[in-house]
Homo-oligomer: 250 residues x 2
Amino acid sequence: MPAASSHAISDNSFDAAARDAVYEAIFTRRDVRSHFLPETIDDSVLARLLLAAHHAPSVGYMQPWNFIVIRDARRREQIRDLFLDARRQEAENIEGDRQALYRKLKLEGICESPLNLCITCDRSRSKNSPLGRWHNPEMDLYSTVCAVQNFWLAARAEGIGVGWVSILDSDALKCLLGIPGHVVPVAYLCVGRVSEFAPRPDLETHGWGKRLPLPDLIMSEIFGGTGEQRLKRAVNATQFSAAAVNRPEI
Amino acid sequence: MPAASSHAISDNSFDAAARDAVYEAIFTRRDVRSHFLPETIDDSVLARLLLAAHHAPSVGYMQPWNFIVIRDARRREQIRDLFLDARRQEAENIEGDRQALYRKLKLEGICESPLNLCITCDRSRSKNSPLGRWHNPEMDLYSTVCAVQNFWLAARAEGIGVGWVSILDSDALKCLLGIPGHVVPVAYLCVGRVSEFAPRPDLETHGWGKRLPLPDLIMSEIFGGTGEQRLKRAVNATQFSAAAVNRPEI
């Protein structure tokens, strides 16, 4: 790994180019629903992405995840049908003036992407050693989400788009994929090479929402605590917040 | 961002060095409990880490997170006391032959690290537009975890260690930090520069667990589905699985 060789001995930070690459993956990652190309993903590339996911942190070193690779077109059509049912139900529960916009949004690429991946959490995996879960049993689900995010960022670096479909009835999905009761399908992902990564999140482009100003989300010492003014000024002065985040190509 | 400039026009992937930097952050990230140095973190660096967190994916573009920066030594002692209470309770629930090992493990750096960060999820933030949460209301918690993982990986690139303390009673923590009922403290993090990043996860070094073989976690088409043999062989053949993952310095 070339990036490692240029580290200073007394400093654990990456060199500037390597550090920027990590930020670039973070800032240009998108929840992809369009622009999927039909080409298959090499096994060698998918293997790297899964290794990235598998190196997520996990509570008590539980590694509660499994990775179901779904390629079969018929099965994906069935899951697409589940999505359509779920979207219909959700649409009815969206506020009146937002429903029309909701119905226009493209919210999945289940059949267009060359493969789907269901990342699950086996809640029984550490039943004998629940380190870190006595007070917060949901930590295994959170660990699984960390694996999803590792996968997503590695995919961005490989030029592969990932879209997380959360508009699905979990019980119906479990039934279709034969997932047992003690296992939770945490994320259903559409995965594939893309013609482009959109410069901004789709939901921003289509007027569903805006990025909140980060300084408004920072609190000092307690919830709602004011203070940290110097930090908030530093946020606003951050160079790549202008360069990387707002530049149209990123 | 230098990494971007070397992209081929027809390819959205990073160049090899930039791609490797992303994998290096993923593979060398650690859940840090020891080796914290007392030096403060520059506001400019913390600002970058928070921007990374803030650019996580979020369901319906909800951005449900807040970031409580905790520096006060007395407050951190109080939280350390909460941890000690919680660890005592958890220890009693660990299997007999594992209890002695559990009690030896160092599981937090609340007072040694220069700052703590509580990342919360405001579950009411998108009450008028719950896109993607009708069937899976927990998606806002998952989005917040994605923010945690972005923060963690960016911190690794900056040479900053992060440890997630999950051995805490949430209600007691909420009381101490004045967190209202509709807000969930998803992650309590210890953050600081470190003298080293351990070559392996602490829980592996101390014999609590081993990394599971990734091929055993891959399934084909349905839960438990065999197949994907070529992909599993590709996992075992992945070059950096030998170089980066097993090399002692990584």
